[in-house]
């Protein structure tokens, strides 16, 4: 799914350290460590921020740890691959971001029914504030919908411990267990205790051979429903006693119920205000321990619910309070104290607690924000943008040039090219979800007068684009599909995908996009080079005049990925430079191109940062005065 890499981490050696010991690591790495300590045997996943580092870490260490690991084509395939291992009796794991679970959800619900034999843990991460997601969806609601137990950690230490415990719970109750995180937990780093790592060798097992055991349909489904309802009751009993939930005794007649990252803010805000409310910190959020909650709220006048996104716990507490303490004041989203949107932090919680407890915050937050707003007047925004040398910049330049003067509609998709609707390009009309460009383009070509263009990346095409293309071929859809082929799943950290170059000794087989597209029945296929700023727009323009469905594969590897390969091979990156004396201030290298390595100097002449330039020489081809060249007279 969409989202961005968390940066390269250096603590892989700590993840596989024998232990015991301590290490500074990100929660995503700590969860992998927890799974390794639980002797996990198989992992399958598809990258998506903020969970990508889980996949990246498994990718790096799986051979050394003697386990099976796959980067799957999408989250649905991943959950199925991992579930199968657990059906057979081996411990397995998958991870995905919030919207990844939407893709996996069909099988997710069935897995809830049929259950597992070996421990099966799924980490899924919501993204309050939509830092790197297309929505702030609250994935917690999946747990009760599918009757699958859910744990929620607040920090890297808990994240590791909960993953480990989730494997035991999974086997004890024969069900998939969710470890649900938010971005601020996944991307939180801290010092984590490492317990001893006792890996056992990977060995295949005999299939249990209980016919229809993992089949759910009609009367089988009805039988399973009875089982999972009973299982949920037993899980709730277990959670009533679980140390994952704890009451931190305070003073007075007010309690706080909280979980996940919001727990940290609640504690810090209380300390800031010098108050000591009673806190119920929930680690098991489905099924909720209703008796524990009842006992907690029974003596209080007020309870404050601190949770990000929907009032999931708040609504449950309201229902419980009706029976045990109908007079209690329940402060949260329902009273307007907290918002269902954006993420929280300590100052947001402090403002609410200050109003509830009649205190003053140590800092007048709104005054500071107002002053900062004034100080930042005229500060240019710095949105994420295509890297220097990014092939998408060239593809989009050529496409826009080819369509100059022609009103058209662009259905785009999820990936780095999702940045094209942001400043400064503001290019693109619709974007829904992975693979949606094809379905949307199909609908548009029936209904709008303008020509229709669909944009999709190679990884997204393999993830969820194939059915849309089959559909378009079948129904003779009339639109132009541009596959932006940069060889890797770039946005989430340049992971491998079925279209990636295969390194020596790899187990996978590379699939060629043109073979797939041809195999699906597309007749008109063209491959273009996004770095060729002269020929590519001309070719695209010609293709855009053709009737019917055409596929254009715009092919160049991701610049970050390519640069890393170059550095590994000891190849130099030769930056371009501007002959400032000859620059005529035409700005063809700036307008419509917007490369972060190009700016204007004090004389308003174009200048190229040699630290940033990737040496793609696209700008050199754009300059009408021909004054941009590879530096040192070198040849690209």
């Amino acid at each position: 799914m969409s989202g961005c890499e968390g940066g390269s981490r250096m603590s892989r050696s700590d993840v596989v350290a024998k232990g015991p010991g301590k290490a500074f690591m990100m929660a995503n790495e700590a969860m992998v460590r927890g799974a390794l300590e639980a002797d996990v045997k198989l992992y399958a996943g598809y990258p998506g921020s903020p969970t990508s580092e889980i996949l990246d870490t498994f990718y790096e260490i799986h051979k050394e740890m003697d386990m099976r690991m796959e980067i799957s084509t999408n989250e649905k395939v991943a959950i199925e691959t991992a579930a199968a291992a657990a059906f057979a009796g081996l411990r397995s794991m998958t991870s995905m971001k919030s919207v990844g679970l939407n893709v996996a959800s069909d099988s997710f619900f069935s897995i809830g029914y049929v259950g597992v034999k070996g421990g099966f843990v799924m980490v899924f991460a919501d993204d309050p504030y939509a830092h790197s997601s297309k929505s702030e969806q609250d994935g917690r609601l999946y747990a009760p919908a599918a009757y699958i137990p859910m744990l929620e950690p607040s920090d890297p230490t808990e994240a590791k411990a909960m993953v480990k415990q989730a494997f035991d719970l999974s086997e004890k109750f024969g069900t998939l267990v969710i470890v649900r995180t938010v971005t601020r937990v996944n991307h939180q780093s801290g010092i984590v205790e490492l317990e001893p790592l006792k890996r056992t060798p990977f060995a295949k097992v005999k299939w249990p051979h209980e016919p229809t055991r993992f089949i759910t349909l009609a009367d089988k489904a009805r039988a399973f429903k009875k089982i999972i309802l009973e299982r949920t009751v037993k899980l709730e009993e277990e959670f009533e006693r679980s140390p994952l939930n704890r009451v931190e005794k305070g003073e007075g007649d007010t309690g706080i119920i909280t979980a996940s990252a919001a727990y940290n803010y609640s504690v810090e805000a209380s300390e800031l205000l010098g108050i000591r409310p009673h806190i119920l910190k929930l680690g098991t959020t489905f099924p909720l321990p209703k008796k524990l909650i009842s006992d907690f709220i029974r003596p209080f006048k007020r309870v404050v619910l601190v949770e990000e996104l929907s009032p999931y716990m708040e609504n449950a507490v309201k229902a419980i309070a009706k029976d045990v303490n109908p007079a209690i004041e329940i402060i949260g989203k329902g009273t307007g104290h907290f918002s269902e949107s954006l993420e929280y932090n300590t100052n947001i919680v402090a403002v609410v607690l200050a109003s509830v407890f009649g205190k003053r915050t140590p800092v007048d937050y709104s005054a500071v924000l107002e002053r900062a707003e004034k100080l930042k007047e005229g500060l240019p925004v710095r949105p994420p943008t295509f890297c220097p040398g990014c092939p998408h910049r060239g593809t989009l330049y050529s496409l826009r040039k080819a369509l100059r003067g022609v009103k058209h509609v662009v259905a785009t998709d999820i990936g780095c090219y999702s940045m094209s609707p942001l400043a400064p390009l503001h290019y693109g009309d619709t974007m829904l979800s992975m693979g949606a460009s094809l379905g949307v383009a199909e609908g548009l070509q029936y209904c709008v007068e303008e020509p229709v263009v669909a944009l999709i990346g190679d990884s997204t095409f393999m993830h969820a684009g194939l059915p849309g293309l089959v559909n378009a071929v079948w129904h003779k859809g009339n639109f132009k599909l541009f596959i932006l082929d940069n060889s890797v799943t770039a946005m989430t950290g340049q992971q491998q995908n079925p279209n990636s170059p295969i390194h020596e000794g790899a187990d996978e087989q590379k699939l060629m996009l043109e073979d797939i597209v041809k195999g699906l029945g597309v007749k008109d296929i063209t491959i273009v080079d996004p770095y060729d700023m002269k020929a590519t727009p001309v070719k695209m323009k010609e293709i855009l005049t053709r009737p019917g469905l055409s596929v254009v594969i715009s092919r160049r590897e991701c610049a970050l990925y390519g640069d890393r390969n170059k550095r590994r091979k000891g190849q130099a990156i030769i930056p371009n430079e501007v002959d400032a004396a000859a620059c005529k201030r035409i700005y063809a290298c700036v307008r419509e191109f917007h490369c972060p390595s190009i700016s204007v100097d004090a004389n308003r002449k174009a200048t190229i940062s040699k630290e940033l330039c990737d040496g793609c020489n696209e700008c050199g081809q754009l300059c009408p005065a021909n004054v941009i060249k590879p530096s040192g007279g070198g040849q690209k």
């Binding site: 250096m10 500074f24 780093s189 940290n264 300590t346 100080l375 994420p384 780095c416 700036v590 917007h594």
Partner: protein
């Protein structure tokens, strides 16, 4: 030990994540608690990037409350101003004098002949309304002196580390650098760290509470 909180900022690709890992690793070496939270979203791609970091005993959430940070460390001058709401009044700004022009600003510059770049002096004037303690370094120059222009991040860390309130010492930080940077870049990084410390001592410690100069 009291808590020290610092907002790290810069532009995607400048090595901010490595910098926060170095501080975290130094905390592990020193037996001190460090918590970090990356707030980068899509910003890897030449966008604005920030990381919240706290060192101390009584810490849980990495996010720094508004107006409460002890310091801002910025690898790029505009990005120091972008996160100014996190700094407490009288906190310390340690920043690179380098300005990387965002594509949005360059785009406006070529559209409008009268538009001016935002310059370093302007940024400093604005920051001074929050704090007098602003340490500006030419990290790129010092990094080049250290033998590797990519060590700007470690130069700035060296400067931050001289503050008396910063709870990690130069030896722990250098050990963490040694562990986390590639072996062939190790010497340049250690040198860069030392040059950052030295520059900060020479230029800013008259007005700021600093640690003693190590031998």
């Amino acid at each position: 030990m009291t808590t020290f909180s610092v907002l790290l900022s810069g532009v995607g690709g400048q090595g901010l994540v490595l910098l926060s890992n170095i501080i975290g690793e130094a905390g592990a070496i020193a037996g001190k608690k460090v918590v970090t939270g990356e707030q980068h979203g899509l910003s890897q791609r030449s966008g604005s990037i920030s990381i919240h970091l706290k060192v101390g005993e009584n810490i849980r959430a990495p996010l720094i409350p508004i107006g409460s940070g002890d310091a801002i460390l910025s690898l790029e001058a505009m990005e120091a101003l972008r996160y100014i709401e996190y700094l407490k009044d009288g906190g310390v700004v340690v920043m690179n004098r380098r300005i990387m022009r965002p594509v949005t600003e360059t785009g406006e510059m070529v559209k409008d002949k009268n538009r001016k770049h935002m310059e370093l002096e302007d940024i400093e004037t604005r920051l001074k309304q929050v704090t007098p303690h602003i340490m500006v370094l030419d990290a790129l120059e010092l990094a080049k002196d250290a033998g590797n222009p990519l060590t700007e991040n470690v130069v700035i860390l060296g400067a931050l580390s001289v503050l008396e309130a910063f709870p990690l010492g130069p030896e722990e930080l250098k050990a963490a650098i040694g562990k986390l940077v590639p072996p062939k870049a190790r010497d340049a990084n250690i040198k860069a760290f030392e040059l950052g410390m030295k520059a900060a001592h020479e230029r800013f410690c008259k007005d700021l509470a600093c640690k003693g100069i190590p031998k």
